[in-house]
């Protein structure tokens, strides 16, 4: 379901074949080719290196192509994500999309950069109160600690009723902000969970 192979399309599909690939033989030695072929000046076919001859677009060698949507603005441009050896090797516009027709802006075109950025933080970090440096922390331990803090904060700050005895059923001790680049399904779980634990101060970029 996820990996629908994308047919190659566009101009020049068969052009490469017509241009003729060079086989890897001794005859491919450039000077031999230059002297024996139709490229006596050695500026074209005779100069092709073995590596060049073997050049293939990485969209062609990808293990799968996955349909996605750009994560930046709300135009919702279609993206095709090319995966090789479980790594994203290319993200480009999806020509099928009636919204974007395969085009992307500089941010959308930088999506692969976003995913594979060397600056990206992939480990949990923890800063203790008063601490001056980050420390590392196991991800499950971190989630446990956060759950403990939610439960404790909620208990400490719980409001059953207001001063007139009317039901409040909530906590004002914890808050949230964010969600405009999150999925609908994620926002749904966030709203559902926070509402169930009585946290009302849940906001996102749409307010800002």
């Amino acid at each position: 379901m996820a990996a629908s192979p994308t047919p190659a399309s566009g101009p020049g599909q068969d052009d490469r074949a017509r241009g003729g690939r060079l086989r890897r033989t001794l005859l491919n030695w450039p000077v031999v080719r230059q002297l024996t072929g139709s490229d006596p000046l050695g500026r074209g076919s005779a100069s092709v290196s073995e590596r060049t001859a073997g050049l293939t677009a990485r969209t062609e060698t990808a293990d799968r192509v996955v349909r996605s949507v750009c994560p930046y603005c709300a135009v919702g441009c279609g993206q095709r994500v090319y995966v090789k050896d479980e790594k994203v090797v290319q993200i480009e516009g999806d020509p099928d999309s009636p919204v974007s027709r395969g085009r992307l802006c500089p941010k959308g075109a930088a999506s692969e950069n976003l995913v594979n950025s060397p600056k990206r933080q992939t480990a949990v970090l923890y800063r203790r109160p008063g601490g001056t440096e980050w420390e590392s922390l196991d991800v499950d331990v971190a989630t446990d600690m956060i759950a403990d803090r939610v439960v404790a904060t909620r208990a400490r700050t719980w409001q059953d009723t207001d001063e007139q005895g009317r039901r409040l059923n909530r906590t004002l001790g914890l808050a949230g902000l964010g969600g405009a680049t999150l999925d609908n399904e994620e926002n749904y779980l966030i709203k559902k969970l926070f509402t169930a634990i009585g946290a009302v101060q849940i906001e996102n970029q749409a307010r800002i």
Binding site: A3, R64, S68, V69, Y72, C73, A74, G76, C77, V83, I91, D96, S97, C105, P106, N113, L114, K119, R120, T122, A123, L125, Y126, R127, G130, T132, T143, I146, A147, R149, V150, L168, N169, L172, G173, L174, A175, G176, L177, G178, A180, T181, D183, N184, E185, N187, Y188, L189, K191, L193, T195, A196, A199, I202, E203, N204, Q205, A206, R207, I208
Partner: protein
């Protein structure tokens, strides 16, 4: 649009090549202006005058689309006798209470509607309607309504719109009919006023009027496109209302090539409003219950709609009960009001800015920040960062180590000495997030279309999706509360939280989307997905997490995953993704046909009545009851969808009509009236009331405001500044300043100034400038450019400074710089609590800003010179210093005394 939505702009370029006229109205000449037919620079914050003068032009030249206006708008409806316009009351509408800064909006309602119904007389026609009582009165005080930010959660906001007794004058001649009231209201909005307030020469303005009116009517349509340049104001809602009035008068709503399009700036910001992580909403624009109005489920439902109003809001009981069933499953029964009491109750404004101020008061212990960078992106960055230092614990989930995560070691306040790392007690968890290709799910784009993304790869290292994190968190919280007998833990333990997991142990987004869509719970279809919200029932027989999304899983198929290539279908492309509601691509498209159901013109045919088939048909899913004939007229007393007449295209409005005048739903006026921004070097020439009299002000020592207009001290901050995005960056930079390919394209924070301002202040191209407001001072490289044009406003030359807001001060990004949003204070729009962050006033000087404590002294020196106090700019009723939430203001001051110890 070319700047911030370049790929969407391809359609504008294509339209232009086919002959469309493209007009760009913006303080700056941008990449959009470069390819537009006309660029109109105007003063930031003056758009109500600009739009209002177009309305006046349309009305005074007879350019309005008469048949459309008479049939589809509320132009003919008679208003109450006690309604008074701003010109009668020195800048406020009737019902204003200067004590609270709020309106009693009852005098804005239709005559004869609501509790105080009065008899019709004379030539007025009485609309035959219900003999049932008027709709439920909300009983909610206007003050608390303002606090909650009422209005926007309900399209029609119809609870007090029981329509019995409404009167119309189809000739539009009655002096109190909407059309005549509108004409009188807008008479002052002349081209001369545009010149005086906006700084737009009449010649330039005339071209806009000419283009807009010449391209509207049966054969042609005009579309309006806006972004946060219209919403980030204390009068933001009224900007949009201004455009809505133009579009209704010209017949451009519900038609192809028409409408008013909000270009939203985040991949699923539409989705995060539909399924809201917003304090005042439940999914599908249902309100969060408040303590004073929503004691019981019937109380709650009575405030959403009245049974005799028209349209689809009358089924709010079915939407609400289905939501409660989705969340609390079998525990939700008719006997316990479907667990309605499991919902927490609001007591006022719990919006993000209010919350940040509560952090400063130490009432908030924990804070989750999810894919958001408030230390840079929110107004008044210093207040945001100082608030973070008051928390007990903070969870930041993001891709990169954004400034919000690292504030404790490298925020500007460390440098000024206001914060000391060792003294900050906040425990910070940074949890790395999954990118869009490392999880599956839907984004809802700006056109309400959901598109499913497949997962390409597993997230690296500790990275997790929000879905997985919150599922796990919920599981762990439930574990900790298991066995509890406390009533407060029932909502947590009753919660449906049993989602299927995949082979990696990850929760299935597909299952969540199915829950959102909803399904039948009983009968032979039990377990089958709902195909439409019209299948929802109020008896607990259906479940559904967001009624407007029902249909996204119709027929058990993920409709958001449809990807029929655009080239293989017609231009509306209905088989790509899925748009709410019911896969309609253009809302209110019944209006694309005339009252008899025929297209207004062949050229603009979109949806029409097929007499033979007895159905509406066309290029889109008709936004109407499919088999309701144009000639249909409801029986008296019928409400809901059945109450819609065959020519009531605005099916979510309580009266089925487009509102030229908003009788209910808004808190700051039934028609747009010009007010100056919270901070403006210009006085309001229309009346003494300077700024929006209902704006939400915060009188605090840490939220001082620049003097405005002819107030003493306004000359210290003589320039207007505005903020914006650049194509090369994204919002507060979390997804762009860490990427080499984007960082190098716009590496440094800069300000854009005209050559004239550069000469006036001695600013040097590529040199540094210091920009100062009553909050702080920031420095930026100077870009002197002809793209910024001075304006002559009220006989004075007004200079504007442009500031892109993508940079922040921190240690981890590839590029950093001062944050433009630090200059703003916090003043909010009353309807939706959105901050005014597209305009304020400032000073600008050549050179770098002082550093360390000297920066604070620099800012303070400006304030002293301007005579700034906490009352400055914060008198909601101009000329009356005692007005406006006095008690609340005192509380703010006290709070500040506490925080100023830091």
């Amino acid at each position: 649009m070319a700047e911030c939505h370049p790929v969407g702009f391809q359609w504008v370029m294509e339209a232009k090549q086919r002959g469309a006229t493209v007009i760009h109205v913006d303080p700056r000449y941008t990449r959009t202006s470069a390819v537009a037919d006309l660029h109109v620079p105007l003063r930031a914050g003056s758009d109500i005058v600009f739009l209002g003068a177009i309305v006046n032009h349309i009305l005074s030249t007879g350019a309005w689309f008469e048949e459309y206006v008479k049939a589809y708008t509320n132009a003919a409806v008679i208003l109450r006798e006690d309604f008074q316009d701003v010109d009668d009351l020195d800048g406020v509408f009737s019902g204003y209470d200067p004590e609270t800064g709020t309106y009693d909006t009852s005098s804005w309602n239709y005559d004869g509607v609501g509790a105080q119904s009065s008899a019709g007389a004379g030539e007025e026609e009485t609309l035959e309607n219900s003999d049932r009582g008027a709709g439920g009165d909300s009983g909610e005080s206007e003050q608390s309504e303002k606090q909650r930010g009422a209005g926007h959660e309900l399209g029609g906001h119809g609870a007090d719109m029981g329509l019995s007794g409404m009167h119309r004058d189809e000739t539009l001649q009655h002096p109190r009919c909407v059309f005549q009231v509108l004409k009188r209201h807008y008479a002052r909005y002349t081209p001369e006023l545009v010149e005086q307030v906006c700084g737009v020469p009449p010649e330039q303005f005339a071209k806009v009027c000419e283009a807009v009116t010449a391209n509207s009517g049966r054969e042609r349509t005009t579309a309006w496109v806006y972004s946060v340049g219209w919403t980030h104001h204390t009068v933001g809602i009224q900007y949009i209302r201004g455009a809505a009035i133009i579009q209704l008068l010209l017949g451009n709503m519900g038609r192809p090539g028409g409408g008013i399009m909000a270009l939203r700036g985040h991949a699923s910001i539409q989705g995060s409003t539909d399924i809201p992580t917003l304090f005042n909403l439940l999914p599908g624009y249902l309100p969060m219950p408040t303590v004073d109005a929503h004691g019981t489920l019937p109380d709650y439902l009575a405030t959403i709609s009245s049974p005799d109003q028209k349209g689809f809001w009358t089924a709010a009981d079915a939407y609400t009960v289905s939501l409660l069933k989705a969340w609390w499953g079998d525990a939700a029964t008719a006997e316990n009001d479907f667990c309605f009491d499991h919902l927490p109750r609001l007591t006022g404004d719990h919006g993000t800015y209010r919350t940040v101020m509560d952090m400063l008061e130490d009432t908030i212990e924990g804070y989750f920040v999810l894919g958001q960078n408030p230390a840079v992106g929110s107004a008044h960055g210093k207040m945001q960062r100082l608030a973070l230092a008051h928390l007990d614990w903070l969870v930041v989930r993001d891709l990169n180590l954004i400034e919000t995560a690292t504030f404790w070691k490298d925020s500007p306040e460390i440098e000024t000495g206001e914060l000391r790392t060792e003294d900050i007690g906040t425990e910070v968890f940074f949890l790395p997030a999954a990118t869009h290709v490392e999880k599956e799910g839907t984004f809802t784009q700006t056109h309400r279309m959901l598109q499913w993304r497949h997962k390409a790869v597993e997230p690296p290292g500790d990275c997790r999706s929000e879905l997985q994190f919150f599922f796990e968190l919920g599981r762990k919280i439930r574990e900790r509360l298991a066995g509890s007998t406390l009533p407060r833990d029932r909502p947590v333990l009753d919660l449906t939280w049993d989602y299927p997991l995949d082979e990696h142990g990850e929760v299935s987004a597909d299952a969540v989307l199915r829950e959102i869509n909803g399904y039948h719970l009983t009968g032979e279809r039990a377990g089958r997905p709902l195909s439409s919200y019209t299948e929802m029932t109020a008896d607990g027989a259906t479940s559904g997490g967001c009624w407007i999304y029902t249909g996204v899983y119709a027929d058990g198929v993920n409709q958001a995953d449809r990807r029929k290539p655009g080239r293989d279908q017609h231009w509306v492309a209905p088989e790509w993704g899925w748009a709410w509601p019911a896969n309609r691509r253009t809302l209110y498209n019944r209006a694309s046909a005339d009252p008899q159901g025929r297209p207004w013109s062949e050229r603009k045919a979109y949806v029409w009545w097929d007499e033979e088939a007895g159905r509406w048909t066309g290029h889109d899913v008709p936004d109407f009851v499919a088999d309701k004939a144009p000639s249909y007229r409801p029986e008296p007393g019928v409400g809901g969808p059945d109450g819609l007449a065959g020519d009531d295209p605005f099916v979510m409005q309580a009266d089925g009509k487009g509102w030229l005048f908003a009788p209910t739903g808004l808190l700051d006026g039934p028609m747009p009236a010009h007010y100056e921004p919270q901070e403006s070097p210009v006085s309001n020439p229309l009346y003494r009331q300077q700024a929006n009299p209902t704006r939400q002000v915060f009188r605090r020592e840490d939220n001082l405001q620049n003097p405005s207009g002819d107030e003493a001290g306004s000359e210290v901050y003589p320039y207007v500044f505005t903020t914006y995005r650049l194509t090369e960056h994204h919002t507060a930079g979390g997804m762009s300043r860490w990427l080499p390919y984007l960082a190098e394209l716009q590496p440094e924070f800069f300000c854009e100034v005209s050559p004239e301002l550069a000469a006036e202040r001695g600013l040097e191209h590529l040199g540094w400038a210091t920009i100062t407001s009553a909050r702080t001072a920031i420095e930026a490289r100077v870009l002197v450019t002809d793209r910024v044009v001075p304006l002559r406003v009220g006989g004075r030359v007004i200079h504007q400074v442009g500031l892109p807001y993508h940079w922040g001060v921190g240690g981890d990004a590839l590029v950093s710089g001062d944050a433009a949003n630090d200059l703003f204070g916090v003043t909010l729009d009353a309807n939706v609590h959105i901050q005014e962050s597209k305009v304020a006033s400032c000073d600008i000087r050549p050179g770098r800003r002082p550093t360390g404590p000297a920066l604070l002294e620099h800012v303070d020196a400006h304030r002293r010179r301007a005579g700034v106090t906490i009352l400055t700019g914060n008198e909601v009723r101009s000329g009356d210093p005692t007005s406006g939430g006095g008690a609340a203001a005192v509380a703010e001051v006290r709070a500040k005394e506490h925080t100023s110890d830091e």
